[in-house]
Amino acid sequence: MKLITAIVKPARVDDIKVALQSNGIQGMTVSEASGFGRQKGHTEIYRGAEYIVDLIPKVRIEVLVDDADLNRILDLIVNTANSGAIGDGKVWVTPVETVVRVRTNERGSDAL
C-alpha cells in the first residue's frame, strides 16, 4: 500500500475530490497547509506597501491506495491539479506498512 500526499492549490480541491470519488477511492483526508516551493512566494500590494508573501495557502490531500491502483490515481490527481501555472504544487508517494480499520480491526488492503 502507498500513501499519496498531494499539496495543491485550494481552488483545485473540489475537482480532485470529485475525480477521486468517481474513480473508486473510498476515503481521503484534507487539511489546510501553507508553504513555498520553487516559486518562492510572490509580492502583493496592500495599503500602499509592497510585501513578499512567502508562505502561500495550499491544501494537503492524503489518500491511501493499493499498489495496483497507484499510477492510475497518481495520474488522476496530477492531471486534475494541473492548471499550467506556477504554484500548482507537488505530489509524493510513501510506502505504508499496514492500515487498520478501527471499527472492525480489518488489516491491509481490506481496510482501505
Binding site: 502583493e44 500590494i45 496592500y46 495599503r47 500602499g48 506597501a49 510585501y51 513578499i52 508573501v53
Partner: protein, 422 residues
C-alpha cells in the same frame, strides 16, 4: 435650575451618549485591524481610556479646561475641582441654556475618544500599565491645555485660539484630530517599530470587526459634530448632513484612489475613508454648506489615503494610521474653513478666502493648526520618553512575538481550539 431649554438639553444629553459610543466603536475598529494575537490588548487600551479619563475629568480636568481662564488664554482655574459649582448651574446663550452637567458629560466623551485614538499608533507593543499611566498624564498635560485654547469660550477672555486668535473649529479639528495625529506620531517614534514592520504585511485579522467599528464611529459622529451645536437647532441639522455627506464622499474617494494605485478596492479602504471624511468635516461641519462638505470629504479621503503610505517612506510604525487619517484629515478640515467657510451657514462663523477674497481667516486656521501640532508633538514626545526611561513603555520582544493577549491579559480573543480552550 430654572429656564433650561428642554429640547436643547435633550439633544446634548443624547449626544453625550452617542459620542461615548464611539470609544467602544474605536476598540472594535482597532481590534479588528491588529493581528489576532493582540486583539484584546488593543480593545483594553480604549477601555482604559474611558476609565482613567472619566475619573480625572471629575476630579480636576473639567476645571482646568472650562474653569475661568488664568489670564493668558492657556489654562483654566481650579474653581470646579470635583465638579464643584456645576450642580444646578447652566451654560449656553439666553433661551438656549442647558444644565452644566450635560455639557460636562458631553465634553468628557471627547477627551476619552481623543486619547483612545492614540493607542492605534502603538498597537501590539505597548506595556499596558504604562499606557494606563500615560492616559492620565497625557489628558492632563496635553489634552487639557489644547481643549482650553480651542473650546473654552469665555466672552473674549477664555482660551487663546477661540477667544483671541479667533480661529474656527466647530467640533474638534484641533483638539481631537490634529492633536491625536501629532501625538500619535510622537508615540510611534518613541516606542519604535513593531518586530517585522515592512517585512510582514500585518494585515487586519478581522475585517467584519473593522466595519462594525467604523459603523459605530460613523453613528456616534453625529453626536460629536451635530452635538457640538450644543442645541437642537438648524445649525445642528447643518452639521449632521455635512457629516453624512463628507463621510460618504471620503469613503468613495478613498476607494477610487486605492483602485487606481493598487488595483483593488479594499474593505479597510472603505472603512478608513469613512473615518477620514468624518475627521475632515469635524472642524468645518458648522461653517460650510453641504456641497462644501462634499468637497471636503472627497479631498479628505484622497489626502488621507495618500498620507497613510508615507509611514513606509519615513520608516515610522504608526500601526493603525492615526497620523494619516486623523492628523492629515484634521488639517484638511481646518484649512477648508479658511477657504470655503461662509457666514451664510453660520453667522458666528467666517468667510474663507474663496468667499471673501481675504486670507485673514485662512491665516488664523494655519496658526491654530501649527500651534496645536507643535505643542502636542513636543509635549507627547517628552512624556513618552520619560515613561520609557523610567517604567518602560514597550514590552519585551518575546512578549510582542507571542502576542499581548495571553501574556498581558491571560485571555485570548478567539479561544476556539477544542483541545486547548477547556
Amino acid at each position: 435650575m430654572s429656564g433650561i431649554n428642554t429640547g436643547d438639553t435633550a439633544w446634548v444629553l443624547m449626544s453625550g451618549a452617542l459620542v461615548l459610543f464611539m470609544t467602544p466603536g474605536l476598540a472594535i475598529f482597532y481590534g479588528g485591524m491588529v493581528r489576532a494575537k493582540s486583539t484584546l490588548n488593543m480593545m483594553m487600551m480604549s477601555f482604559a481610556a474611558i476609565g482613567v479619563t472619566t475619573i480625572i475629568w471629575v476630579l480636576y480636568v473639567y476645571s482646568i479646561i472650562f474653569g475661568k481662564d488664568s489670564g493668558n488664554g492657556l489654562i483654566g482655574n481650579l474653581d470646579h475641582l470635583g465638579l464643584n459649582n456645576t450642580i444646578d448651574q447652566v451654560v449656553g446663550s439666553e433661551g438656549h441654556t442647558i444644565p452644566t452637567l450635560a455639557f460636562v458629560m458631553f465634553q468628557l466623551t471627547f477627551a476619552i475618544v481623543t486619547v483612545a485614538l492614540l493607542s492605534g499608533a502603538i498597537a501590539d507593543r505597548a506595556k499596558y500599565s504604562s499606557w494606563v499611566i500615560f492616559v492620565g498624564v497625557w489628558i492632563t498635560l496635553v489634552y487639557a491645555p489644547i481643549a482650553h485654547w480651542a473650546f473654552a469660550s469665555q466672552g473674549g477672555s477664555g482660551g487663546w485660539i477661540i477667544d483671541k486668535l479667533g480661529a474656527l473649529d466647530f467640533a474638534g479639528g484641533t483638539v481631537v484630530e490634529i492633536n491625536s495625529g501629532a501625538a500619535a506620531l510622537a508615540l510611534a517614534i518613541v516606542l519604535g517599530r513593531r518586530e517585522g514592520f515592512k517585512r510582514d504585511p500585518m494585515r487586519p485579522h478581522n475585517m467584519p470587526l473593522v466595519l462594525l467599528g467604523a459603523g459605530m464611529l460613523w453613528f456616534g459622529w453625529f453626536g460629536f459634530n451635530a452635538g457640538s451645536a450644543l442645541g437642537a437647532s438648524g445649525l445642528a441639522a447643518t452639521a449632521m448632513i455635512n457629516t453624512q455627506v463628507a463621510t460618504a464622499g471620503a469613503a468613495m474617494s478613498w476607494l477610487v484612489y486605492e483602485k487606481i494605485k493598487g488595483g483593488k478596492a479594499t474593505t479597510l479602504g472603505v472603512a478608513s475613508g469613512a473615518i477620514a471624511g468624518a475627521v475632515a468635516i469635524t472642524p468645518a461641519c458648522g461653517y460650510v454648506t453641504p456641497l462644501g462638505a462634499l468637497a471636503i470629504g472627497l479631498v479628505g479621503g484622497v489626502a488621507s489615503a495618500w498620507a497613510v503610505s508615507r509611514k513606509y517612506k519615513f520608516n515610522y510604525d504608526d500601526s493603525l494610521d492615526v497620523v494619516g487619517v486623523h492628523g492629515i484629515g484634521g488639517i484638511v478640515g481646518m484649512l477648508a474653513i479658511g477657504l470655503i467657510g461662509t457666514t451664510a451657514v453660520n453667522e458666528l462663523g467666517g468667510n474663507g478666502l474663496f468667499v471673501s477674497g481675504s486670507p485673514s481667516l485662512l491665516t488664523k486656521q494655519v496658526i491654530a493648526i501649527l500651534a496645536t501640532a507643535a505643542y502636542s508633538f513636543t509635549a507627547t514626545f517628552i512624556i513618552a520618553k520619560i515613561i520609557q526611561k523610567t517604567i518602560g513603555f514597550r514590552v519585551r520582544r518575546d512578549v510582542e512575538l507571542e502576542g499581548l493577549d495571553t501574556t498581558t491579559h491571560a485571555e485570548s480573543a478567539y479561544d476556539i481550539n477544542p483541545f486547548t480552550s477547556r
